[in-house]
Structure formats: C-alpha cells, structure tokens
C-alpha cells in the first residue's frame, strides 16, 4: 500500500515554507462494535513508543476511556501527557484499492485531555505499539509511505 504524505504551509519570519508531513488515513474501531470505524488522519511516528489518540475518538467508539490502564507519556522537554490504555482494532485501506486492507488489534492510549494546544498534531500519533510492530513501513520521502503486512 502506498500512502501519500500531507503538505502544509507555514510562514516563519514571513517567508513561505512548505512542509511534507507523514500524516495518513488510519481507521480505528472498538472490537466490541467493529462496524463503527473512525478514520483518522494521524502522524506516523517511528520515534513514539506507543500510539496516542484523542479522547473524543475513544468516546465516539463507545469506550469508557477513564476505565483503561492509566499511562503517562513523556515527550520532548519532559512534557507529560496522561491517558488510558485500551485495546482497539486498526484498519488500513489501500488508497489505490480500498478492498485491499490490513486489519489487526493492539493497544492505544486515549488521552485524558486534549493534546497540548501547541502540538502540530492534535488527532493521533501512531508509534511502535499500535502500528510499527505490526507492519513493514518504508518512508520514501517526499513521495510516499509504503506499508505492508510483515509477511508479504
């Protein structure tokens, strides 16, 4: 499966700058109701130990998020994010053929609060637990991100 990067602009010192970000469409669902899937546009981050997802998504999928396993995530500079671990289902659809899918189950942290407001990703961060340990991921910057199941 070949996923495109996302392109954004910012204006440091009033100069236009294009940035290419590894944000891709990833579906997540509650194994208790697998037909309801929220397709997120999340950051694929090989530096993250675990996947972190906004609490509203957990609520929408029917989780009582605060009943999960409490976790504390430390970011750069020591910033702390609190959340709760839950088992979820993941669904990746091939952008060129959405009948070709990858589906698996793993843990994510649903945030206790919203992501810190200054973070340039506010929806989901997909890290080792929840993403990379299930997939072969090749970053072909800036062209695409190639994702396949480990056995292929």
């Amino acid at each position: 499966m070949e996923f495109p990067y996302a392109k954004v602009l910012d204006f440091p010192k009033h100069q236009k700058r294009t940035r290419i970000l590894p944000w891709i469409r990833v579906g997540i669902f509650n194994p208790k109701s697998p037909l309801k899937i929220v397709f997120t546009l999340g950051l694929v981050d090989s530096g993250a130990d675990i996947s972190i997802v906004d609490r509203e998504i957990g609520k929408e999928l029917g989780y009582e998020t605060a009943k999960g396993i409490p976790e504390k995530i430390i970011g750069l500079g020591g910033a702390k994010t609190y959340g709760f671990g839950h088992k979820v289902g993941f669904l990746l659809e091939d952008p060129d053929d959405n009948s070709n899918t990858i589906k698996y189950f793993d843990y994510v942290i649903f945030t206790k609060n919203t992501f810190p407001s200054t973070m340039p990703q506010q929806t989901a961060i997909y890290g080792t637990i929840g993403f990379f340990r299930h997939l072969m991921v090749t970053f072909v910057y800036p062209k695409s991100i190639i994702i396949d199941p480990p056995s292929s």
């Binding site: 392109k7 290419i20 944000w23 929408e60 200054t118």
Partner: protein, 64 residues
C-alpha cells in the same frame, strides 16, 4: 506516484475544531467543534467514512 494531500488551504482557513475530508482526502466535507458533530454532518452529506482530524498549529515544528 502518490501526490501529497494538500492541507494548506484547509488549515489556513480552519484554525480550530474537527475537519472531515472525503475518504481519498482530496475534498473538504465538513467542519465542527466536536467529532460527533463533524461525523453527523458528513453522514448527512452522504459520506459515512470520512477522514477526520483536528486542526493543528502546523507553524510549530515537532520532534518526538
């Protein structure tokens, strides 16, 4: 060759809240303050499986 999803105009226009795109990420479907509302708006427009994300301050660089 996959072309990047261009979010420049959308993120410039919508600084807060949830954004829904078509499943191919090419077109804006709806915006709302909550995920529930943006999904409802998308569904009313006939898109039951949009891509959703929260607007983010992309002028900040990220390392993590």
């Amino acid at each position: 060759m996959a072309r990047p999803i261009n979010l420049s105009k959308i993120l410039a226009r919508y600084k807060k809240g949830w954004i829904a795109l078509t499943p191919d990420n090419k077109k804006l479907v709806a915006t709302a303050n909550s995920l529930k509302d943006v999904l409802e708006k998308s569904n009313k427009k006939g898109i039951s499986n949009p891509t959703v994300f929260k607007s983010a301050p992309v002028n900040n660089l990220f390392a993590g």
